[in-house]
Amino acid sequence: MSDIPVTSLPHAIPHPRERMMSWVASVDHKQIGILYMTTAFFFFLCGGVEALLMRAQLAFPEEHFLSPGAYDQIFTMHGTTMVFLFGMPVLIGLANYLVPLMIGARDVAFPRLNAFSYWLLFFGGLMLYFSFFAGGAPNVGWFSYAPLSEKPFSTSPGIDYWALSLLVLGIGSVAAGINLIVTILTLRVKGMTIRRLPLFVWMTLVTSILIVMALPALNVDLVMLLIDRKLGGNFFAMAATGGSAILWQHFFWAFGHPEVYILALPAFGIISEVIPVFSRKAIFGYGYIAASTVAIGILSFAVWAHHMFAVGLGRPWDVAFAAGSMLIAIPTGVKIFNWIATMWGGSIRFTTSMLYAIGFLIFFTIGGLSGVTLAVFPIDWQVHDTYYIVAHLHYVLFGGTAFAVFAGLYYWFPKFTGRMLSERLGKWNFWLTVIGFNTTFMVQHALGILGMPRRAWTYPNLPYWGILNLISSIGAFILGIAILVLIVNIWVSLKHGERASDNPWGAWSLEWATSSPPPPENFEKVPPVRSRRPLWDLVHPDDPDWLHGNA
């Protein structure tokens, strides 16, 4: 097993000239994790600017700020960026940094493969954005429905860039997923049994399995699309040559729905770490949270056709997928209740991180509940492809995933950098985010119910459409300011933030047992792991968790 020489790590404090090189050539999971997260944050800003451009265009009816061609490119890039260049990389980056620390390992299982995954992300992202200069960005939406994405209807090279860069990103994600699974299964420190893994690691494990199993469906679709576009193939072309436009959708959503959970599960993991620490209580129902995650992972492969209720697949399909889609709400609900039960009877500290976690509980619940209305497919027959969906998915992905990522950022920033983020700016950041986010997206439920389709570059001045869109656009700019506050906070705190101790929050998992930031080798000595909360056991020798049989 250890027959390959240990890869040498970069010097802790290199010469300034070498500092750049130490990042580029790094195979250290912490550096690569940071690279992942900074790259993701950069693309988050790109996607955010695109969102603001869209909201500027939609602020008033029959606006001509953007042409339809420009608008289509921007909404496609916004979706693609947020899913593939922000959501996945930031969560993979977080897992990269934290998983080895949490399981008491020195690095991931394959450090060089890890660097390879990151650079695929980096260049895949560059390739996607290069399309702006190469004849136009992709302009057919992040799920690029055939036959609109086929040559006869879209000659733009942007779609080829889109397909190629997503293939590159997909290969990188699969490699990262394999790496994380192997790391979790083989590199745990003595005592760290599967049933003692921190929940973040559990979620990462299930997510990685989803990545490994779901990404190939996207890759198949992309390969077939490229063969159609570049070699004159007939997969999704017009029916005359025997192709099928619906096959694209089946394969895309067979990837696309697990993808939703790839973006959501690590967020659940973050919340499962943050809430206990700031409630000063052990996580409630550890086993149920882990098991419900596995249930979600399995069910996520059986719900894809709920994205296709308007396709006319036939009654049996619709019924089966409605049932699956409703069922998946239950393991998700179990988690929400367990998190609330964790807070119950605790001693809650309202740090910015905890505020974001509480925000997550509420907003993710809203997104989850509107999701249930979509599983009831006669309702989906009304609101499918409208702004109601836009609102729903942003409550899940922004109110859920992004809120959790911010909670995680405030929580682990001291570990990453050795400095605390400012709580004062943090509170501003949090409340502006809450106000901006809800102003932007709450009204979009109403817009959908009032008949506004998604992805329209402009709209007629129908009753309430103008005012609701204006409110939404104002909200988007408040959200933009909130993100600016976050940038300022990171910038200022990196330079002048309060020095962080090893364990500033009094947390209980292993990443807090080493210095902040950790040394290249991670640990001098890993504390004994005899329960789920090794650091609790150290501090409370009179009442260690293992006395309670871990449950």
Binding site: V182, L185, P216, A217, V220, T241, G242, F251
Partner: protein, 183 residues
């Protein structure tokens, strides 16, 4: 658990999903459209069958190589690796001949949905065989040094996993694409 073997198993799972879906697409189009030319009229299951036997046999020679390796019989391993590579290469040559024949009969990837799905499916498989051959050649090259084989038994074993996978995929493709024409 050996991390290299585990990683290869996961990689194969992922690749297996990829091929599973490509095969599904082929089956779907085969079942729903009947526009000429179709598989039954242009493919030669017997000829391809003979070349397929080479690929199936190469899994056996690979396994014999691994057995030699376990017994520290490095010369045996090298012999069986060469045999495996030759059998795999023969299969690829057969596929190349088949493609050439089809191309001459004007059956191309853009002709109709049969052409598109057939060349995509078998082409991706051929690409994987080719990559497998590259890996085996690297193993053979490194395997010239006794040191390597003594230390990195796992590397050869992991390569053999991949080779068996490529073989198993062909069993399914051969059944679905070539044997189905008899139904």
């Amino acid at each position: 658990m050996n991390r290299y073997k585990l990683a290869m198993v996961l990689f194969i799972l992922s690749e297996g999903t990829f091929f599973g879906l490509l095969i599904l697409a082929y089956v779907y189009f085969r079942a729903t459209t009947g526009s000429e030319p179709i598989a039954a009229h242009v493919l030669d299951p017997l000829k391809t069958g003979i070349f397929s036997v080479c690929l199936f046999a190469s899994s056996g020679t690979m396994e014999l190589g691994i057995k030699s390796l376990r017994k520290k019989n490095f010369a045996g391993l090298r012999f069986w690796l060469v045999a495996t590579i030759l059998l795999g290469a023969t299969f690829l040559v057969g596929q190349g001949m088949e493609y050439l024949h089809l191309y001459r009969s004007d059956i191309t990837i853009s002709r109709n949905i049969f052409g598109t799905s057939f060349f995509t499916l078998t082409g991706f498989h051929g690409l994987h065989v080719f990559l497998g051959l590259v890996v085996l050649l690297i193993m053979l090259g490194l395997g010239m040094s006794k040191d390597f084989l003594a230390k990195h038994e796992t590397a050869v074993e992991v390569a053999s996993y991949y080779w068996h996978f490529v073989d198993v995929v062909w069993v399914v493709i051969f059944t679905v694409v070539y044997l189905w024409v008899f139904l």
